[in-house]
């Protein structure tokens, strides 16, 4: 039986069309996935279903839920629907919970509002719900404040709140995007089992085809506000019809061309080596000193690393694993309390007096494309800055060199006078790469450079990095939380957890025969496309 029927839904913000002519049906107990990249209109669409868009949005078309036309409902009738018949959960659970209200109270809000529960009955029901979303020791956590919960627990608490009144439909808007892979897997498993237990219908919105495929039966692919393809998950993954869907699938890490296994030339020198590198944040307070603690927070604990010439080393780990801390210690952004760094066998001080000579050999590129470029410098000025400051070429040659570098990263020359906000995320990242290459480094450290990009852009940037690495014989350290990406790009991989290196080895060996339980857990959590569980 059709529960929700959307016809020709169009959302505009002034002149901007955010969603255009979206139509679909959702049957009882069915799980529908909506997939698309940023700006595809997937989030706008699902917010429009509950009329949660800001007042500046204009919505036309029809949303029929169980015989009621949602777009025409009065505010009070709409509120009787929200949270009672249709529940919703969001991305970044941290910001979607009120920091000044206890978890139990926030979970219980819908019960109080729609079922009139209060007092002991309410408290009991909240505890039952928290238990149901597998929060251990629910009585204790019901009294906790949001900031005391981990990211995964916050999302579970949100789910508990949304499902408290046993709604018919759950709308999940990128519910696992901000979470680590292993935590994401836990939340997806929970959603699956809730669905099975209750016959809950679900709309699951995500940019991640792998995550959607884990939960959903049917799929909408959206692009630029329009639905470009609709069908069962299996059909779309195995036989996509639309060009864009094909590109999306081809950009998925599962489908990227695997890096051919290769042996480095014997005796390739160690360009970069670190031994016993430790970084501690924060100082030792008086009470630490009195109770004999070292104090602060150990972000990196005795890490060893070697990188040989021409090698691509992947570092993988979840948030807080210390992978970025390690990278930043290598370029002197974090001061290491212990350990040594060697460049071509010579000890170096990345933050010391002779850092410029070292840093010209070891360059770093960063995660957020728009943030990595100085907002008031044009593309040309950004790329020319290191050339000028370090007098790498004569001042008359700077313009020509900038043009060369832009060509090398496939940037069209007419972008030279643009400011960062006039560029796309992928273009910004290319500028950042060109700027790093201006110093002619031997080592490139890439810290989560593609994680803020859409998959199709990610595929292009990975492609570019691969090409540059091969052409220039660069040594590279590629840091990512995404095992799928590491597998496609790197020769060797290091797995990190809680500031320590858990496992190191050739990519094929670590992926196929992981030695550590944690590595196995990470690998199992990769959201693969269906039929691609054992990639070639």
């Amino acid at each position: 039986m059709t529960l929700l029927s959307v016809r020709d839904l169009t959302v505009t913000f002034g002149p901007v069309i955010a969603a255009s002519g979206v139509s679909f049906d959702l049957a009882q107990g069915e799980a529908l996935g909506i997939v698309g990249e940023s700006g595809s209109g997937k989030s706008v669409t699902c917010r429009a279903l509950l009329r949660l868009l800001p007042a500046s949005a204009r919505v036309t078309g029809s949303v029929a839920f169980d015989g009621q036309e949602v777009t025409a409902l009065r505010e009070d009738a709409l509120d009787a629907l929200r949270g009672r018949r249709i529940g919703m959960i969001f991305q970044s659970p941290a910001s979607h919970l009120d920091p000044l209200m206890r978890i139990g109270d926030q979970v219980g809000q819908t019960l109080r509002r729609h079922r009139g529960l209060s007092g002991k009955a309410l408290a009991e029901e909240v505890v039952r719900l928290l238990d149901q979303v597998r929060i251990p020791d629910p009585r204790r956590w019901a009294d906790a404040w949001p900031h005391e919960l981990s990211g995964g627990m916050k999302q579970r608490a949100m789910i508990a709140g949304a499902l408290a009144c046993e709604p018919d439909v759950l709308i999940a808007d990128e519910p696992t995007t901000a979470l680590d892979a292993t935590v994401q897997k836990g939340v997806l498993d929970l959603l699956n089992s809730l669905r099975a237990d209750r016959g809950l219908a679900m709309i699951f919105v995500s940019h991640d085809l792998g995550a959607v495929a884990r939960v959903c039966d049917r799929l909408l692919v959206m692009r630029n506000g329009e639905v470009v393809e609709e069908g069962t998950v299996n059909r779309i993954v195995t036989a996509p019809v639309h060009d864009y869907t094909r590109r999306l699938l081809a950009s998925h890490p599962d489908r990227l061309p695997p890096r051919p296994p290769r042996a480095l030339p014997a005796g390739a020198p160690e360009v970069l080596a670190a031994t016993g590198l430790s970084v501690r944040f924060g100082r030792r307070s008086l009470s630490d000193w009195l109770s004999g603690r070292t104090g602060g927070f150990v972000a990196l604990d005795g890490a060893d690393l070697t990188l040989r010439k021409g090698e691509v080393l992947g570092i993988v780990g979840e948030s807080g694993s210390g992978k970025s801390t390690l990278a930043r210690a290598l370029v002197g952004l974090n001061r290491a309390q212990a350990g040594t760094i060697r460049h071509l066998g010579q000890p170096v001080q990345p933050a010391g007096r002779n850092r410029v000579t070292y840093l010209r050999q070891v360059q770093m590129i960063y995660q957020h494309p728009y943030e990595a470029l100085s907002p008031r410098l044009t593309v040309e000025q950004s790329i020319a800055e290191p050339l000028r400051r370090h007098r790498l070429v004569s001042s008359g040659r700077i313009g020509a060199r900038v043009t060369e570098l832009m060509a090398e990263v496939d940037l069209s020359p007419d972008l030279g006078t643009r400011l960062p906000w006039e560029l796309s995320g992928g273009q910004c990242q290319r500028v950042a790469i060109a700027r790093a290459l201006a110093l002619e480094p031997a080592v490139l450290i890439a810290d989560e450079v593609t994680s803020a990009l859409d998959v199709t852009l990610q595929a292009q940037v990975l492609d570019l990095l691969s090409r540059l690495q091969a052409e220039r014989g660069l040594s590279m350290i590629f840091i990512s939380h995404d095992l799928g990406v590491i597998r496609r790009l790197c020769d060797r991989v290091m797995v990190m957890r809680a500031g320590q290196i858990v496992e190191t080895g050739q990519v094929a060996q670590v992926f196929d025969t992981p030695r550590q339980g944690y590595t196995r857990e990470l690998i199992a959590a990769i959201p693969h496309l269906p039929g691609a569980e054992a990639p070639a």
Binding site: G332, Q363, M364, Y366, E371, P375, R376, R435, L439
Partner: protein, 268 residues
Amino acid sequence: MRRAPALLVAGIAIVAAWGLVALAAPFLATHDPIAINFEALLQPPGDANYFGTDNTGRDVFSRVVYGTRYALYIGLLGVLAPMAIGMTIGLVAGYFGGWVDALAMRLVDVAVPFPFFVLVLAIVAVLGPGIENYFIALALVGWIGYARLARAEALVLRQSEFVLAARTMGFSHPYILARHVLPNALSPVVVYMMTDITLVILFGAALGFLGMGAPPPTPEWGIMIAEGSFYISTAWWIAFFPGLAMVMIGVGFALIGDGLARWLRLRA
């Protein structure tokens, strides 16, 4: 780039108009602002004296026109030193952090509890009355607001990836501060400066009112209001017009500040 909002334009127009009044004071004034005329004491506003005359027969209109020069002089000059000092301390403290920051913040902590105007008064009391001493007092205590703002910006900017990138490209700290941190920390400071100009003009006039600003014959608005306060029930115009002028000039700067703040927020 969005169009500047109407109120911002209005603020700029008001301030520009007052700037013109200050420049053209000799042409606008109908009388000598300090010429005493015992023939025409406490005359109400009329054709001979647009804003009337005060208790020594001086023309209130001409005095208000010349007073514009003092107000703008105090407002525009008074914020320069506090801004320069505050920006430097705030940016350096926020960017480097560590003990530099700790020291600067302790300094701010000590200065914050003193009511701004009380501290200015106390310093002027020590140094003696006069506009120059008011400027010194402002330089000593007015930097705090700028320092807090600049520090907050620098704290964010130093963690931003383009500053990190500049560091890993081997650029020096002074260069990064000047080229990458300062330009991006400027907007909130400029907004604050506009409000600060209003306050500096008001407090300057308050000093004049309390008898601790410029010496008495000067056509300064605060002094005029103080003189007029004795005649407020018989000759309201002496105190009324300089105050009104001050409100208008203050509204001009406040509108610029308010409009800039909104404009910058819209663009972000």
